[in-house]
């Protein structure tokens, strides 16, 4: 059966969109800070969907209400486990379901992702993105 051209285009378009989303460099790629506007910080609040304690970056997948009735999964990238452990983080410090606020630098590619500046837990605990400076 011949697929109507208009549907075909829509399918191809959706496939391209999906592909582009999967290939978004800001999304869970390992990259340098240059992927982010590091001197800008925005604040998002949501529910932890997943916390990945992995090298070379940890990831917080945060489900955020976009204010329009939609839920958006933000991908917040943090420094490596080694350095965050010295800043007080642990592999289980964030659990799915936790409500947290994340200050992060947005990705240059406009994807729903960013580089963590700090995470604030519901009880007010602040998780810094690096240990105190060595003096």
């Amino acid at each position: 059966m011949k697929v109507p051209a208009i549907i075909s285009s829509a399918v191809v378009g959706a496939a391209l969109l999906l592909t582009s989303l999967l290939l978004v460099p800001g999304a869970q790629a390992h990259h340098s800070n240059s992927a982010f506007y590091v001197t800008k910080v925005i604040t998002i609040k949501g529910v932890v969907k997943e916390f990945k304690w992995t090298n070379p970056h940890v990831w917080v997948i945060l489900t955020v209400d976009d204010g329009k009735g939609n839920k958006v999964d933000w991908k917040a990238e943090g420094r490596p486990p080694g350095i965050l452990a010295r800043a007080g983080w642990t592999p289980k410090i964030l659990q799915p379901g936790d409500v947290v606020t994340i200050d992060l630098s947005p990705a240059k590619d406009d994807s729903a992702s960013g580089l963590i500046a700090r995470v604030t837990k519901a009880d007010g605990t602040i998780l810094a993105n690096a240990p105190p400076p060595t003096e």
């Binding site: 240059s34 590091v38 690096a130």
Partner: protein, 261 residues
């Protein structure tokens, strides 16, 4: 005092000098001073500082997540002075970074940062020392360099086979370890993303400036890329045993490469 006694005293003095020049022990885990600049875990990163805890107020919202490292503010006078050819390379790489590309970021590809950039040791350094060899380990990307102290020199085979860490030989001058590094790949950076040529060599003078504070005076020479040798000084504080920071953690960078696909 007769001449025999004078000579005997000089010999004893010489023995004393020899005893004093027993090489110091650099072994231990170290952290560079202020590796992340002003954003390091301090107020800008959200961690309460001493002054804030005294004032009781909530820590201010951070205004940055990391130091700007895309070259968009140009170069500063204390950075290596590049020849026009290598300045053009730097500008080209800067454009890719401003655009958000990791194309020229070695560590983003889990490759070693290479010498001398690796001596930034932003995530910590472990020094392992024996009589004939001293090894510097970087937590960032599990990078390693060995400095041979047994008098060997780089062979032609070594010189023909450049590596990220290069080939380092050293000797003691009193309490100072003097190290020369050659056979370096030309795709690494001097620091940040400052490029260099295959003619780069690195000279270091490393000493314990005071107990627990290691100083590395690094001089980079590159007749093709630099208009003059470039000197930088790194300082590292030794972690105290039992402080919880005297052990580095495995980095296993490739764990994240799958995420990039």
């Amino acid at each position: 005092m007769n001449i025999d006694k004078i000579i005997f005293s000089m010999i004893l003095g010489g023995v004393g000098l020899c005893a004093q020049t027993t090489p110091p022990d650099f072994s231990g885990v170290y952290y560079p001073l202020n590796p992340f600049g002003r954003f390091a875990g301090g107020p800008r990163a959200g961690a309460p500082s001493q002054s804030q805890s005294q004032t009781q107020g909530p820590p201010p919202r951070p205004t940055a997540s990391a130091p700007l490292s895309d070259g968009s503010r140009g170069r500063t006078p204390d950075e290596p002075s590049l020849t026009p050819e290598y300045m053009a390379k730097w500008e080209m790489i800067s454009k890719t970074r401003i655009a958000g590309s990791p194309e020229y970021d070695l560590t983003a590809k889990c490759l070693p940062p290479g010498m001398p950039a690796m001596m930034s040791m932003a995530y910590g350094m472990e020094v392992m020392q024996s009589k004939d060899k001293i090894t510097f380990f970087s937590e960032l990307n599990d990078a390693l360099r060995r400095v041979y102290l047994d008098g060997r020199k780089p062979s032609q085979k070594v010189l023909d086979d450049p590596t990220y860490a290069g080939y380092s030989t050293g000797h003691w001058e009193g309490d100072t370890l003097v190290v020369d590094t050659v056979a370096l790949r030309d795709n690494t950076f001097i620091e940040g993303f400052t490029p260099h040529s295959d003619a780069m060599t690195v000279h270091e003078r490393i000493r314990l400036k005071e107990p627990g504070l290691l100083e590395d005076i690094i001089t980079v020479t590159d007749p093709k890329a630099l208009t003059k040798p470039w000197e930088t000084v790194k300082n590292y504080r030794k972690a105290k045993p039992g402080s919880g920071t005297d052990e580095l953690r495995e980095f296993a960078c490739a764990e994240g490469l799958g995420e990039a696909k």
